[in-house]
């Protein structure tokens, strides 16, 4: 009972996050055992990114919103699960998986980017980032990360063809590159809106308009 009492509010979120991270570790193990390099490598990258908020907590003594941490972890999991084989499905019920997973994993990078800039803002008196700037920064961050990601895919593909092995990451053509970038941007807009007070002021405006409440 005392254990249950201790786990309330934020710590439940932390517990869920740790649970999801254990699933990630299990997936990495599965990838290693089966010799699926793409699953193992992407799993490790994703796991590292889900640890960013924890590291920020240690380094800057700033706690990232636990709901954001959960979102980051869920998105990471969604991306990694795709490598079991869901990304290769081109038709049928799960053919949308690639696009949706891309938007979700992009939002997870955007979430990490947003967390970093908020932590910097809180931890140092020498920088100040107002909401508008955070919004723009998050957008640019995810676009830049998308470009970096495509370059990574390109490099890995080039190296793999030189060595004559199968690529861990794949590019399927210009359409694929551009649709990746577009879905990244859409996801980044959502995260940026959700993460900043833009969202709060929009809700305030909407509620004032429709419910005519005195308080925003």
């Amino acid at each position: 009972m005392s254990l249950l009492k201790n786990i309330k509010g934020d710590s439940i979120f932390t517990l869920i996050t740790r649970g999801l991270q254990i699933v990630l570790v299990a997936l990495i193990g599965y990838g290693v055992l089966r010799g699926t390099a793409s699953l193992a490598v992407n799993g490790m990258l994703a796991l590292t990114l889900t640890l960013v908020p924890t590291v920020l907590g240690w380094r800057f003594d700033y706690e990232v919103d636990p709901r954001l941490v959960i979102w980051i972890t869920v998105a990471a999991l969604f991306h990694v699960v795709g490598f079991i084989g869901l990304y290769n499905i081109q038709s049928g019920l799960l053919s949308w998986y690639d696009q949706v997973a891309h938007a979700i994993s992009a939002s997870f990078v955007a979430g990490a980017g947003y967390a970093v800039i908020v932590a910097l803002d809180h931890s140092s008196a020498r920088v100040h980032f107002p909401e508008e700037f955070r919004f723009i920064f998050t957008l640019c961050f995810i676009l830049a990360f998308g470009v970096a990601w495509e370059i990574a895919e390109f490099t890995v593909g080039g190296l793999a063809s030189m060595l004559g092995s199968k690529a861990v990451l794949t590019q399927y053509g210009t359409d694929d590159i551009v649709s990746d970038l577009v879905f990244n941007t859409i996801a980044a807009i959502f995260i940026a809106i959700w993460g900043t007070t833009y969202f709060r002021s929009i809700t305030a405006i909407v509620s004032r308009r429709f419910f005519r409440t005195g308080k925003p």
């Binding site: 920088v127 100040h128 980032f129 390109f154």
Partner: protein, 152 residues
């Protein structure tokens, strides 16, 4: 591009109401490089992204000076690299859309697209490094502070 350079260069004198308030000439000259390169028809792509990076630097300095945004020089460098890469990404999307709906042929295949993204990133990183050294060595009185990144 020319319009963008001129517009951003005019922000300080307008906002400060002093005609002598100006971006350092070296920086503006760098931003104008692609205009020259284009007229000689050489190194168009790298010089364009050099200009984008320089414009990002100017925007960073102006944000720091004229708005409530405060950043350190280390962060400014990261900001410049990120903006340059983001613009390259947006530019690729814009070209793709134009190719489909306006019948243009800007994008010459996957490899060409990837190489221009690589060039943009390379130039962005290079520009970031150059600016960092420029801040530190040549202009110690610059508005941005230098050792700040280390104390974050």
């Amino acid at each position: 591009m020319v319009v963008a350079v001129i517009a951003i260069a005019l922000v300080p004198p307008i906002l400060s109401h002093r005609f002598t308030e100006m971006i350092a000439w070296e920086v503006l000259a760098l931003a104008a490089v692609p205009v020259v390169a284009r007229s000689f028809n050489m190194l168009i792509e790298p010089s364009t992204y050099l200009s984008v990076a320089t414009l990002a630097l100017i925007v960073a300095v102006e944000l720091n000076a004229f708005t409530s945004v405060e950043m350190t020089s280390g962060f400014a460098v990261v900001f410049i690299v990120i903006i340059t890469m983001a613009i390259a990404g947006l530019w690729t999307i814009a070209q793709f859309v134009s190719d489909i709906y306006l019948g243009t042929t800007f994008l010459a295949g996957q490899t060409a697209v990837m190489w221009s993204l690589v060039i943009a990133t390379g130039v962005g990183v290079l520009a970031g490094i150059i600016f960092e050294f420029y801040f530190r060595r040549l202009s110690p009185s610059n508005e941005l502070s230098y050792d700040a990144w280390s104390d974050i």
